[in-house]
Symmetry: C2
């Protein structure tokens, strides 16, 4: 266990905790006080830490995800649903009228984009909550310009599914859905901030020596 | 205060806590035991709850953001930096070689896209951490296909900056940067999951009766 801890950088007490909680399978007992841990343990430990530290999931969510990784649903489509379950956002109080307006904007957007999405997708209430909060804070203009965001997420979802579809075994595919979706959110947030600096420098400072790329495209 | 609580749905003890912590300005004292709260208090309270509940910021991060909202930097470009400061991701242990490979991929991407980003942008280490975690977990294919994600974030950043640039007063602009960036992450994550269901249904199930939109576009 000391070696497992050294290899992964996860402290021994934490490893013991994961063993107790059933997130990590016990090692193969070799002596009374010793157990052997293999590459599968290293891999699983890294996955747990990635879900906890990088994706910020609570332990219950991680357990739910790992269950899916261990016995993958052959209907890969369902795995996306499980990944959504593991992330629940709190829904602050917003009055009914504002919530209805937010929901209307979102339904219009989904119709406009031609997305086929069931009513049971847990992202609906999450998206409605953010939009309702925008409205409650008087940021109606943020709600009025949703199409570029939807278009961007179409690109992302197509790339996500494309990578998964090219993987050949189910286990690897399920892991891709889990890791790609959950850690991917953190990656997208980081890339968005890098892109912000670029776009903001071009718009709000005198640093821009080249014409803004997007405006330049439109003029071509 | 009871009325302020009723209007915003925030419990009185929580309001008192925010007052003690200096996140909320005291009301105007009208009697020995009574103070008057106006629309500015309602607005501020809603902003605090949105940053806490929807964006998931810790109190220290919220305080930093509110300071920026209260005395906006006339260089709007700097506000994006402050918003980045308020979000710090933990960086799990990854060996140096993997981290260097991740950083190389990211730098190549930024060069390829022509983004002008300073070394001090806090999103660098966050993005590197996610990419290094992908590699450490054996998901090299996720790192090999970053361009669609970068392209998507260019769309998002251009839309973000476009909305902000159309606002006429600085205070409203700064609030837009704060709300749009932080709550926007949650919105994008939700839209991504809606788009996933659509793209996944077309790829992994027999439900798709219409040809995949993206593939269809390429064939036109």
């Amino acid at each position: 266990m000391a070696e497992l801890s050294r290899t992964t950088g996860v402290p021994v007490p934490t490893i013991k905790y994961y063993l107790r909680e059933g997130l990590l399978a016990p090692g193969e007992r070799t002596h009374r006080n010793q157990a052997e841990y293999g590459p599968a343990h290293v891999r699983r430990l890294r996955l747990i830490r990635a879900l906890a530290d990088v994706a910020g999931l609570p332990l219950a969510g991680i357990a739910e995800i790992l269950a899916q990784v261990d016995s993958p649903d052959p209907q890969l489509h369902h795995t996306f649903g499980v990944v959504q379950h593991s992330v629940t956002a709190p829904h602050p109080a917003v009055d009914d009228e504002t919530r209805a307006a937010a929901e209307g904007s979102l339904r219009d957007l989904v119709l406009r984009r031609g997305w086929q999405v069931g009513d049971d997708n847990l992202a609906w209430p999450n998206a409605v909550t953010v939009l309702a909060t925008f409205l409650a804070l008087g940021n109606d203009d943020l709600v009025a310009t949703l199409d570029p965001y939807a278009e961007a997420m179409e690109l992302v979802a197509t790339a996500d599914i494309g990578v998964i579809a090219q993987r050949t075994d189910l286990e690897h595919q399920v892991e891709g859905v889990v890791i790609g979706t959950l850690l991917g959110d953190a990656l997208l947030a980081a890339l968005r901030r890098l892109a912000h600096e670029d776009a903001s420098a071009r718009t709000f400072t005198d640093r821009a020596t080249t014409p803004p790329r997007i405006a330049g495209k439109a003029r071509d």
